[in-house]
Symmetry: C2
Subunit: 101 residues, 2 copies
DNA sequence: CTGCCATACCTAGATGATCTAGGTATGGCT
DNA sequence: AGCCATACCTAGATCATCTAGGTATGGCAG
């Protein structure tokens, strides 16, 4: 579904919406993309974990409302990576468009 | 490198350039994309075989110039599939753009 | 006050696409 | 005669993503 651009999408959603928990990331992605990206939790949670291992996001358990949630936030490296992924996306996109033209 | 859109790209190159052999498909893709997609043979040949299994392309051995080449051509189903993949690409692309905006 | 649904998190293993890393054969040029 | 570019191929590795489960809890309907 996200075809190799999942990291880009997750980082972008965190940028748009600020720090938020995984379930909200899923909902945010679905809404921002007008339903185009309705990803299963089994896709998103492991991807967030990997972003954290790579230092692009940071997480913290929060208990506001009494509900336990893990809130993710972009790190500096994450912001930098987002810019890089956007550039890669632009090149990918224009490559495809050129072939289709 | 082609991130799940390889079929689209191969079908599009065959559409652009007409029937051609695998090595030419690789070169055509590289040139049409301005170097963005320089795919290894080990990626493209199996992908062409799969397109043929799926009935989207048809191949024939040709021996013009004395050189043995397998020439691939789009089938009717291939043309139809190309239209569908283009639509999927457009949705994918606008989904990503919407999230990035 | 109880049962159920939405929320919220998680992981193991399957799947599938693509790449790596080999291999073969031949035509044309030096 | 030897070498390089062309031209084809496949087995197995790798990696991203999905499937298919699992747990726990807050809030609402009945």
């Amino acid at each position: 579904m996200a075809h190799g651009h999942l990291d880009l999408l997750l980082l972008a959603v965190l940028r748009r919406g600020g720090p938020q928990h995984g379930y909200a990331v899923i909902a945010g992605l679905r809404e921002a993309s007008d339903g185009a990206f309705d990803l299963p939790e089994g896709t998103v949670y492991p991807a967030l974990h990997k972003l954290e291992r790579d230092g692009l996001v940071q997480s913290e358990w929060s208990s506001e409302d009494g509900r336990k949630r893990r809130v993710y936030a972009l790190t500096g490296a994450g912001r930098t990576a987002l810019v890089a992924r956007k550039t890669e996306w632009a090149m990918f996109r224009s490559g495809v468009e050129a072939v289709l033209a």
